[in-house]
């Protein structure tokens, strides 16, 4: 698969094979297999309880899988304790050691590796530079904002030049603006140093924005693992289509790889069903034009900034979400007749 990092040669391959982990009757991981190429940035995405965090914690050695193997750079680490796995990890909760300054936090991992004081100080300085916090080096966690704390945590994780970087929802405690900023920064730094990275999140936008490949998980299994564009444009299952972005479910009849939806024949993606189906069409895959002789009635229209969203009910009784340009939004009013037509993009059809 595609590997975007130019420094991929510095990373190592990571393989989770047939991992199983259950808590009582719940299968948190159900024979999950995930291979990361050297230097690759993979995001695991899924609703809470889907097993994404368990997978990451198994890779970290913080949970023991019931079965399966984990290798890092070809070495089997399944039975190795966390502190011997050579990982850098950033947690969801603020995890800076409260009795140490930012610099001491970053130096901690190097100290555990027996590095001398001057090497430690130099490396910590470099790392704090990398995350743009050299001026905060002597501050304690409580003197920093949430975003700054997570940056220091990132610097601390990277200071030991780990083979694998694990990010366990590191942005979810931050406010929207800081989150976007730090997200992009994480990606910049990851590309710069080329460490193989596993990023766990429940925020699809985050996953799509930074990862080389995104894995969507459900009930302990990987539903689909693909580059962001492919995941969005060609979802393998209805679950993926609905979890990643908005989707309309429209009734249609499928045969020979095509389906008729709202009077338009659409090409179907691999894995689609035949016969009476529901076709999954994105709001941006549908066009709406005001038309007194149209096939639908507008229920509501919402302004979302860059674009608008019109909700309409077809004469067949189906509710359709349509994305329209912001400028066109004023021409849609509740009760107005419109014509909604799919643009003709390939779609996934599932049995009705």
């Amino acid at each position: 698969m595609s590997v975007a990092s130019p420094n991929a040669e510095r990373g190592v391959a990571v393989e989770l094979t047939e991992l199983r982990r259950s808590y009582g009757p719940v299968n948190a991981l159900d024979s999950m297999t995930l291979h990361l190429a050297p230097g690759e940035f993979v995001a695991l995405l899924g609703p809470s309880g889907c097993g994404k965090t368990t997978a990451l914690r198994c890779l970290a050695g913080l949970e023991d899988p019931d079965a399966g193997t984990i290798t890092i750079g070809g070495r089997d680490v399944t039975a190795l304790p966390t502190n011997k796995r050579d990982l850098g990890m950033v947690f969801q909760a603020y995890s800076l050691f409260p009795h140490m300054t930012a610099r001491q936090n970053v130096e901690f991992g190097l100290e555990m590796r027996g590095q001398d004081k001057s090497t430690r100080a130099r490396r910590a300085g470099d790392m704090l530079d990398l995350v743009g916090l050299s001026s905060q080096a002597d501050r304690y966690a409580h003197q920093m904002s949430g975003g700054q704390q997570q940056r220091v945590a990132l610097a601390r994780a990277l200071a030991i030049s780990p083979q694998v970087l694990l990010l366990d929802e590191p942005l979810s405690a931050l406010d929207a603006k800081v989150r976007t900023q730090l997200r992009d920064e994480i990606r910049r730094i990851q590309l710069e140093i080329g460490t193989t990275t596993l990023f766990v999140t429940h925020d699809q936008e985050e996953a799509l924005a930074v990862a080389d490949r995104v894995g969507v998980m459900r009930a302990g299994r990987l539903e689909q693992l693909a580059p962001p564009q492919e995941l969005y444009a060609r979802p393998a299952t209805a679950f993926v289509a609905e979890f990643v972005g908005l989707t309309n479910r429209l009734a249609g009849r499928a045969s020979g790889g095509r389906a008729e939806v709202l009077g338009v024949s659409l090409p179907l993606l691999a894995g689609s069903g035949d016969g009476n189906v529901e076709v999954l069409v994105r709001p941006e895959g549908i066009e709406a034009t005001p038309d007194p002789n149209g096939n639908a009635t507008v229920l509501s229209a919402a302004f979302l900034g860059a674009h608008g969203r019109v909700t309409a009910r077809t004469d067949g009784g189906e509710q359709v979400e349509v994305q329209v340009a912001s400028a066109a939004l004023p021409s849609f009013e509740p009760g107005q007749r419109v014509r909604v037509t799919p643009r003709g993009d390939a779609a996934l059809a599932v049995a009705r």
Partner: protein, 296 residues
């Protein structure tokens, strides 16, 4: 407008007066016995005052030659304090951390076990411990310091409460996982991460233990060991004034320690937001002791 304002001021004045009266009453309640002790140690039979008792007490060489039992008891109590604190910390800190990290389901049981000694009167404890101690004294000698083992049981509830408050104030799980991922062994996690963040809790658990051990009488007396309290009691039969003076000193010492605790914590909390004053860490103890004691 002026009416309600002056009314409110009157209410506030009344509250202030009530506050002062309450504080004064409580202070008097605690101070009266101490003043009585001070009065007794300075009284001369035919009226007048003398500081002779206190002068003797401040003269270390005189007191240790004149009252060797007192010296022996004092040294034993100091030794017992140290032993109790060391064993208590070595036992409780790793156990409580481990339970929090790996066996959260066990925390109720551990709490129950640690609070159990509160419900057992010292005399019952002695009955249970007697056969154990007869072997200990027989095998390892008659040293008073062996009482430290029983004292660890005695201080368990208070130390547990203090440490529990400390552990609640930090995210032990995330901090130790972060340290582990950075390559720290479990020993380093405890030493470099958990203990420094439990500093105030460890201090308060230790102070409470010391205060308890310095005041312990029943167990030592029933095992015929001489600690400070037993020595004071024995001395009271022959030289009541010295005995009462020592009693007063040890009470004042305990007050000073407890008072100091609340300030050590308060000062630190000025520089570190997450710290809590020692007094706050200690506070849950009495509440817990009450609720556990009730069923017995």
């Amino acid at each position: 407008m002026a009416g309600p304002v002056s009314q409110r001021a009157a209410v506030r004045r009344k509250q202030a007066i009530f506050r002062w009266v309450t504080v004064s009453l409580v202070l008097a309640f605690f101070m009266l016995p101490l003043i009585g002790m001070l009065d007794f140690t300075t009284k001369v039979r035919r009226g007048g005052r003398t500081m002779a008792t206190w002068k003797t007490l401040m003269n270390v060489s005189e007191i240790s030659t004149k009252y060797p039992a007192l010296k022996e008891g004092f040294i034993a109590s100091i030794g017992l304090s140290v032993i109790t604190v060391v064993i208590m910390l070595a036992l409780l800190v790793p156990t409580m951390t481990w339970v929090r990290l790996r066996l959260p389901g066990m925390s109720r049981l551990v709490e129950f076990i640690c609070l159990l000694p509160l419900t057992v009167p010292a005399i019952v404890l002695v009955v249970g411990l007697a056969p154990v101690y007869s072997w200990v004294f027989y095998l390892f000698g008659e040293s008073t310091l062996w009482l430290g083992l029983a004292y660890v049981v005695l201080v368990l509830p208070y130390a547990y409460r203090a440490l529990d408050a400390g552990l609640r104030a930090i995210d032990v799980k995330t901090l130790s996982e972060a340290a582990r991922s950075l390559g720290a062994s479990w020993f380093r996690v405890m030493w470099r991460i958990v203990l420094p963040n439990l500093r105030t809790a460890v201090l308060s658990a230790s102070f409470l233990s010391v205060a308890l051990v310095l005041g312990e009488f029943t167990i030592a007396n029933l095992f015929s060991r001489r600690n400070l309290q037993v020595a004071m009691y024995q001395l009271g039969k022959s030289d009541a004034k010295i005995s009462v003076a020592v009693g007063l000193l040890s009470l004042v010492f305990a007050f000073v320690v407890l008072f100091a605790m609340s300030f050590v914590g308060a000062q630190r909390s000025g520089s570190r937001r997450r710290r809590r004053p020692l007094a706050a860490a200690v506070a849950p103890a009495p509440a817990g002791t009450g609720s556990v004691k009730e069923p017995s």
